[in-house]
């Protein structure tokens, strides 16, 4: 497999520099753009496999950039944002971003997110009817869930929640996105439904529901499902 192409859209040169170094160390080919405008052009001509986007660009709102990019590309987008920018993050994720990193971040965190997003793109991650995480095994073709060998009964909503999470493994799903997928658009404000059912699912599938390893809470934003604890 050839080196994955990654595009960094970030106005601060020092941040671009260390992100580039870290990614090149992983064997990625890196392109840089200083502004949202240049970023969109670059994304169009280079067709990267991942876009890393700073939400605080001077020339354009990050959410606009994502919405624009999403009209013609499904490339994974990792956003860089401040801790206190929950609104920005939610808007960016709702617009189609896949994951976020809070500034400041270490190289380890950055690479873990990048690897997870690149893995999602690989064909091997698609079209499998089996899923295993922890001591849980899910067979989507037969709608069966086993934990440590014993069958676990899930209600229809719990099962649907698990399938939506599994279909978006590694991606941050906002409350709004999950509610819309599971209950329909009319329930977009009833996030307590979602929280209660996620709680049920954790009770049934997590080893310690108070310290989940697979169905993680992104506080104030939504949930992230991961098969391998980081």
């Amino acid at each position: 497999m050839s080196a994955p192409q990654i595009l960094i859209v970030e106005d601060e040169p020092q941040i671009r520099r260390f992100v580039r170094q870290a990614l090149e160390g992983e064997g990625c080919a890196v392109r840089e753009a200083e502004t949202a405008g240049a970023g969109l052009t670059e994304a169009g001509t280079r067709q990267p496999e991942l876009v890393i986007l700073d939400l605080g660009l001077p020339d354009r709102d990050g959410t606009d950039f994502i919405a624009d990019l999403r009209t013609w590309s499904a490339v994974p987008i990792l956003i860089l944002s401040a801790r206190d920018g929950e609104d920005d993050k939610i808007r960016a994720l709702d617009a189609g971003a896949d994951d976020y990193l809070i500034k400041p971040f270490g190289i380890g965190e950055l690479l873990a997110r990048v690897r997870a997003l690149l893995r999602r793109r690989s064909p091997a991650a698609e079209g499998t009817a089996q899923l295993a995480f922890g001591d849980v095994e899910v067979d989507f073709s037969r709608r069966l869930v086993h934990r440590a060998g014993a069958e676990v009964h899930l209600t229809p909503i719990e099962y649907r929640l698990l399938s939506v999470l599994a279909a978006n493994v590694g991606k941050v799903m906002t409350h709004r996105q999950l509610l819309r997928e599971i209950w329909g658009p009319g329930y977009a404000e009833n996030s307590h439904y979602l929280r209660v059912y996620v709680g049920h699912l954790r009770q049934k599938l997590e080893h310690d529901p108070a310290r989940p390893r697979h169905i993680l809470t992104e506080i104030g934003i939504g949930y992230r499902f991961q098969t391998h604890p980081t």
Binding site: Q14, I15, F105, R195, A210, G220
Partner: protein, 499 residues
């Protein structure tokens, strides 16, 4: 025209009519003479009203009998049929007097009513232009004095503190007293004080009702010692109080709207300053953390000492970023109202997120979490509450020795959810228990434990905003314990699945 003058004139007119008709007595038929007399009664009714018309009816029957009906110059009547003429004449005179007078009175009432309506309209128009409560009081006072010779005072009630101690603007000293105004305000009813014997002073206190509350009291008292002035103005006063109440309420909402606008503008300004500050300080720190971190990872590896230096740089920059985060949080929480995004959620989720965030810091401690499975949902801002739990866990990890246990527990206690974080550290110094939640208060001064003492102050600000309580205590066997109590409410229903 006063009453006695009208009656005298009536008599005069009757006499003149008789005198004018007398020479025609023999030329005209008596029936035509009767017609002229009836016309005069009718005109008197139109001009002077009911009383004089009745008088004229009788007087003219008398004159007719005396001068015109034979035998002349005596009340005796030769032909008995004239008695019928008298009776008809009297009856027609009385009835027309009554009818005409009734119409006249109605017309007068209509004119008076129109004048009052016009006056009210005029006042309403002036009140619409009033920009302050003082102007409302002044317009009222002028209007009452001009139109009804009444002194008036407006007492204004604030939303929170009730009726103010004195009227909005001064008034003629005399009958109006604040005490009575307060009584009328508290009862919400009109209070009328009768004139004391001899003093001739009377007053009325009318509460100003709006749709939601009583917004003040209008007090009126006659300027002249004339008790009727107050009674005459009573119907109008009711309408006036409504007008004034509307004006006062309008001013109240205008003020509220203006304050809200100022508050919003200042909040917008503060938020933009804080986010600019946040961005400008965080950007170099992000570079610093990332660049130092990449130094520790360079291939081939740096010499051990250099790598340690790079790692220390990275950790210090991270610590500085956390400190910056706390300062910005505190600035946001301190400045005015805290905007909570409350949603009903299980506390378990917030605990889980806080623990995961603090995992690196808690690596050297044993964390015990005890959450009953049946805890009710709480209505909280998850992001802020995660910060509270994170700060408490971070403090515990910072002050308690490595290898010791930290316990996080939650339970329902009465109508509150109680969350506690206990450690096995040295506990709060005895003299610091009370001040633990103040800003820049630290457990040990000048110690080498990093931090500036904002963590607990932030916790307190957040818990307070939720209507909860936070308390610090030392355990009997040593160790600190911080307890957060959050009020429980009625969580929304969740439809159970039918499967």
């Amino acid at each position: 025209m006063i009453a006695s003058a009208r009656y005298s004139l009536t008599l005069l007119v009757c006499a003149a009519t008789a005198a004018l008709l007398l020479p025609l007595r023999d030329t005209f038929d008596l029936a035509n003479i009767v017609m002229v007399f009836l016309l005069v009664v009718f005109l008197i009714a139109v001009r002077f009203g009911r009383g004089p018309a009745v008088l004229a009816s009788f007087v003219e029957v008398g004159l007719f009998d005396f001068f015109f009906v034979p035998p002349h110059l005596t009340f005796a009547v030769a032909d008995a049929q004239y008695l019928v003429t008298f009776a008809v004449m009297l009856a027609v005179g009385l009835v027309s007097a009554h009818l005409v007078a009734g119409i006249r009175e109605q017309a007068e009432r209509a004119t008076r009513g129109e004048a009052e309506t016009h006056a009210l309209y005029d006042m309403a128009r002036q009140l619409t232009g009033a920009l302050t409560i003082e102007q409302v009081a002044e317009i009222t006072q002028r209007f009452m004095a001009d139109k009804y010779r009444l002194d008036s005072a407006l007492f204004f009630a604030d939303g929170e503190s009730g009726l103010q101690d004195g009227p909005v603007i001064g008034h003629t000293p005399g009958a109006i007293e604040t005490g009575f105004a307060r009584t009328a305000f508290e009862r919400g009813e009109v209070l009328e004080i009768d004139a004391l014997a001899g003093s001739g002073i009377a007053a009325a206190y009318l509460p100003l009702h709006t749709s939601l509350r009583v917004c003040g009291v209008l007090a009126v008292s006659p300027l002249d010692p004339d008790e009727d002035a107050l009674r005459a103005a009573r119907p109008l006063l009711t309408a006036m109080t409504s007008l004034i109440a509307i004006a006062v309420e309008r001013l109240h909402y205008a003020t509220v709207a203006q304050e809200a606008e100022v508050q919003m503008a200042s909040e917008r300004l503060r938020n933009s300053i804080l986010s600019a500050l946040s961005h400008d300080l965080r950007t170099p720190l992000t570079s610093l953390v990332g660049l130092a971190d990449s130094l520790t990872l360079t291939q081939p590896p740096l010499p051990e000492a250099a790598r340690e230096t790079a790692a220390a740089l990275r950790d210090q920059a991270r610590a500085m970023s956390r400190l910056l985060g706390n300062l910005l949080d505190m600035a946001r929480l301190q400045a005015g109202r805290v905007h909570l995004r409350r949603e009903w959620q299980p506390i378990e989720e917030v605990v889980g997120a806080a623990v995961r965030l603090l995992e690196p810091a808690l690596a050297h401690h044993r964390l015990h979490i005890s959450l009953p499975a049946d805890l009710p949902l709480v209505n909280i801002d998850a992001v802020l509450m995660e910060r509270v739990l994170g700060n408490l866990l971070e403090n515990a990890a910072k002050y308690a020795p490595a290898g010791s246990a930290i316990a996080l527990a939650a339970r329902v206690d009465g109508n509150a959810l109680e969350i506690s974080v206990r450690d096995e550290g040295p506990g709060f110094p005895g003299d610091k228990l009370d001040t633990a939640f103040e800003r820049f208060s630290r457990g040990t001064t000048e110690s080498n434990t990093p931090g500036v003492g904002l963590g607990l102050a932030i916790c307190k600000a957040i818990v307070d905003a939720h209507g909860g309580r936070i308390a610090a205590a030392n355990e009997a066997h040593g160790g600190a314990c911080v307890t957060v109590r959050l009020p429980l409410g009625t969580p929304p229903n969740i439809e159970e699945e039918t499967s």
